[in-house]
Symmetry: C4
Subunit: 345 residues, 4 copies
């Protein structure tokens, strides 16, 4: 694996740059700061009996926590994926793998994406840029990717801003909807639409649902900013500046979740983008998310060790349970219907 | 007193840690900053005739100021309690004693809680964690505690968040309400429900009042954060982090008082949690509190000397009187009905 | 003048302390920051013809600027008064003199208050604490004071907060209204009611107007804080702290002016308290003030030289005229009716 | 060009001072921070096909970007003008030239303003202070100026605040409207009304439109502050202070644009004043501007090199296109009608 393709070296760049604080959205937030839980001084619960199971796309999950799609394609990526996968298996977490375009280009590196051996039972999500459907991929490649990874669902991600800032950007997003419809139609597994940090509006959700998308991951604004990541990568000063201008572009994650859930009471919904602890996870659940995804915090701990990832998962679980306890809710369903979350005034 | 029980050493930890600024709620406040008194340039009063007497649970109090429940169980605690008690006696202040669970466990240390000799005439409040009713205590122990301390009322405190963060946390809060009802029923003295810094909502107040509770101390958010205190004490990194996540959890004291008073015009109501001077005491009275409690400021001065406590009491009294004078109110009743407190816009 | 009476040394303390930035209200403001003039790009005026004359208590004033009541009683005070008086004369500004209680106590120092020689033509305002009517003064002393100073009107100031913080405070404000009524009735000149930095509410204005007061100087919150001044002077720690607690107590000047003018369209109204430049003067005029008073800025410049005072007056006049020009108003009457001042949203 | 007239040396002063950060409005903003675009994750567009053409005063423009009126009259100014003109020609940008009063005074320096040789095809805007119509200029001089510069339109600028702060200020703005009417009537080319950084209100827009003005450049508050520029230039302390007091005077650019467009759906409208990147340009277009002007950023880059100006233009174009792409708009017309811009709450 000495000869890295351009795509491979980009993947390593992304990991390195994403670890840097300054590519996090900084002036604005995921939109959660305006929501507050009302404390319940007398929960009438036994903490030991609190249960954070949930159901997502007809799968039972131990905890409503997702390891968001990140990487693959290099040795480093492989190590990260395997560490994450082993913890996902241990805690029953669903997990996304990074965009699999490179697998089709260079099948010999598929192993850097494959985590089924380490996580035989988890809900595994393959990932591909939706725009690739305009650049030589169609439903057959999607199917192949899913099969190679033994995935349970396919995420199609949308990243128009990132593509604008990349020098090598794929910026023809024309007529994608028809092609997405075909993928949804042909694939035997669910297809999930996902942004990468700028959010999905209700209007877009509507189009995607009508095209046959079975779940939405809003991946909203508030955390990792791909405009900033590409700005850091850019050699060209124009692209460097362009990325900075759009550092805080997007719809706050909380707004996406609240708005989509209000319109679509049934659509399986993932909240992600700037979620940093279990208190925020719980707020997103209360706003209507079914599962909550984190990327950056998992990347950071995965660089350290499997134990670090596990500590993070345990902490988040404890935080979610503490919210449930201190709001008097025995399980997540109860939290969702409790109307315990209120807006600051 | 060489062999400290686990509970005893925890008590000394609490005192040490509570003296540290950083366990005070910092990002948000007790909720008072949005309220403002309207100045009265011509009071038509003689300051000398201003009277801050009040009535609470059928007792006449010289001043509507409470020394909140804090400590007991160790030599250090005993010194603090005695100093506070002598000032309480001198100024006619009601005073709470720290949770008395340890007294039942280890009767030989009861003396560290007993302050009647130093304060024969004050309204004295015994204190016990409500959750102990699920851990081997029932109304008989409550009665015993009250008798040992010669208390005039019993505070049952609710601290679900703190229990979540303690490694040794008592987190079974199930079926407490029935047991509380029994305590209220059997005890010959009033029972007061109190939080420890996260506040009591109207909904909870309703349940507690229906169970027979005769007064409420909201002990809301804005001052000492028990999540932070337990975070400081924790050896385990997960608990350290967990505490920090919930550092600012809770209902602001002012919101609790306003909401409960609006719903229950008659319930004896104590405002506490983050009150730091007599101007804030007066705002709480105007919002509907009958008595206002402080813990941290009394702890801090008690560590210094009896004189320091007395200086604090005198200052708070002067501040309350100054508010009364500069709003043209002769007494607290007049303040409460004056509608002089308004919300900033 | 070697043997300073207690009142005299207090006067010198006040001057010294008032020059210190830290006795200015700091966390909140005079309330003007929320008002904004709408720029007029095409004024259709000749700046040279702009006129800032005004009428106050039937006197024609060149400029709607008042040198607020400050001092007297010591050599230093005399120097300040004389410098201010000469500029007042030169620019036709009305001027207040410090509280004249000491004159009655110690007639030999009357000269430190007398400025008629230096300012034969100005509108001169004598000053007395209203509360003195409860401490041995009545309308006869008021009249005497006015005669000694050759004043055109008498200001009765109200300072309940300041009196609370002074060790020697005169805090019996009972039944003052009847005595004020008598003063208004007996005196051949107008009586003006004035606060000292905490503001006059509409409710108080109503009482004062009903008692016969002919003009109001709101002297609202936003500038010199007498709570802080007395805190600085205090030797006693309780009073030091008490003053700090009330550092920002009061009704913002802008709110007083807006509210009183809304209720009383005709009452002669002075805005003062925290006004620091001619743009603020103009905003106060637009809010309904007839004259705008400054104390601290005049004190500061008066300590330097007569020229410094003059520079200040010229700057303020230029600022007022610039506002008139850039809002397309030829004179102050036009500004008041132009509705050019709007509230930020 | 050794003997600089007073006007000439003022021009060089202006350039030097305008390059300094501190003459930028600092406490308040151009008003855009409250507007946010809603991200469109699936644009259904090919970025390559995005088109930012626009029409202004019946001219087709490649890009809705204007180089705002700045300078002329000195060698330095000539260099700046020529560099800007060559880029304007290359990118098809309209360009304003600095106020041409000095050309009539001193025709031999006309060349420092003339850019037609460098920019044969652009829309070129001559510039004159409207107030000069009260100081010896009339429509004939206006016509002459336009002819000398071979301009396509004439900007009449309004700068009452700046004139108040200049020692040599021309502050007779009386009866200008009639004279403007005449200029509009006689000139064979369009006349544009423009402020210089304090904004044009709807009320003023109405008067100007009624007088025959054919386009408006709001030149609102938020960027270069001419009060501060004149303050920096002033030798006299009064003028120095006066300028500082009015540093943030004016109507925010965004407010001017929104309000005028709401009232006048057809008037050709230029947004300028504090616009600093293409994201802000796009927001102004969405608020209703037809063309967006920048002065300070062009001055800064022009001092460096032609390449620096070109980099800036390319960056702004890329930013505008990125906004169009990420809001799913193919062209500016579509952006304007898309209602994609919303107000933060
Ligand atoms: C190193 C890295 C690589 C990523 N690669 C992908 C990807 O291939 N596909 C994808 O849909 N999202 C990718 N993302 C985006 C994340 O899935 C997520 O939407 C985004 O980072 C926001 O979440 P966060 O704020 O928790 O980091 C990547 C994120 C990181 C940090
Ligand atoms: C050292 C210390 C010990 C405390 N122990 C108890 C206790 O035993 N029982 C109780 O109800 N509250 C206890 N509290 C909580 C206080 O009574 C009070 O509700 C809380 O500190 C908020 O008030 P504050 O912000 O004025 O400190 C304790 C507080 C402190 C500082
Ligand atoms: C040194 C000093 C002495 C003052 N003495 C008096 C006084 O004797 N009588 C009075 O009515 N106000 C007195 N004031 C208050 C002022 O008249 C004014 O109301 C107050 O300072 C608020 O205005 P400012 O913020 O412009 O200073 C005094 C103020 C200062 C600074
Ligand atoms: C150096 C300089 C000279 C200027 N000269 C003129 C001028 O002669 N005529 C004019 O209408 N505006 C002039 N302006 C104002 C600009 O056209 C523009 O309205 C103002 O600077 C606000 O835009 P900005 O914030 O992008 O700088 C000048 C601006 C600068 C920086």
């Amino acid at each position: 694996m000495v000869n890295l393709t351009e795509t491979q070296s980009r993947k390593d760049d992304h990991i390195r740059i994403c670890l840097d604080e300054k590519v996090q959205v900084n002036q604005i937030t995921n939109g959660l700061e305006k929501y507050q839980f009302t404390h319940v001084c007398l929960p009438e619960l036994d903490y030991q009996e609190i249960d954070i199971n949930t159901t997502f796309l007809n799968r039972q999950l131990n905890t409503p926590l997702l390891i968001s799609s990140m990487t693959g394609g290099t040795e480093n990526a492989q190590l990260i994926n395997q560490r994450l996968a082993r913890i996902a298996q241990k805690y029953g977490l669903p997990m996304g793998i990074g965009s699999g375009r490179v697998i089709i280009e260079k099948p010999e590196i598929a192993s850097t994406f494959q985590v089924r051996d380490n996580a035989p039972d988890i809900m595994l999500l393959a990932n591909l840029g939706a725009v690739q459907l305009n650049y030589g991929y169609n439903w057959q490649e999607c199917l192949k990717l899913v099969e190679i990874l033994e995935a349970d669902a396919l995420i199609l991600h949308f990243n128009p801003l990132q593509e604008c800032i990349q020098p090598e950007g794929d910026t023809n997003f024309k007529d994608l909807l028809t092609k997405i419809e075909q993928v949804c139609d042909k694939l035997p597994i669910p297809v999930i639409a996902k942004e990468v940090g700028n959010g999905i509006s209700v209007k877009m959700a509507e189009k995607l649902i009508n095209a046959g998308i079975q779940a939405i991951d809003v991946a909203g604004m508030g955390g990792t900013s791909w405009a900033m990541v590409e700005s850091e990568r850019a050699k060209n000063p124009l692209q460097k500046e362009l990325g900075k201008t759009f550092a805080n572009w997007g719809i706050p994650t909380a707004d996406c979740v609240r708005d989509i859930r209000q319109q679509y009471s049934e659509i399986p919904l993932i909240a992600s983008g700037g979620i940093r602890n279990g208190l925020e996870v719980a707020k997103m659940l209360a706003l209507g998310a079914d599962v909550v995804g984190l990327a950056y915090p998992f990347l950071k701990t995965a660089m350290t060790s499997e134990e670090a990832i596990e500590e993070l998962v345990k902490l988040i679980i404890a935080e979610i349970k503490t919210v449930l306890f201190c709001t008097g809710n025995k399980n997540i369903n109860s939290l969702k219907t409790s109307q315990n979350l209120t807006i600051n005034n």
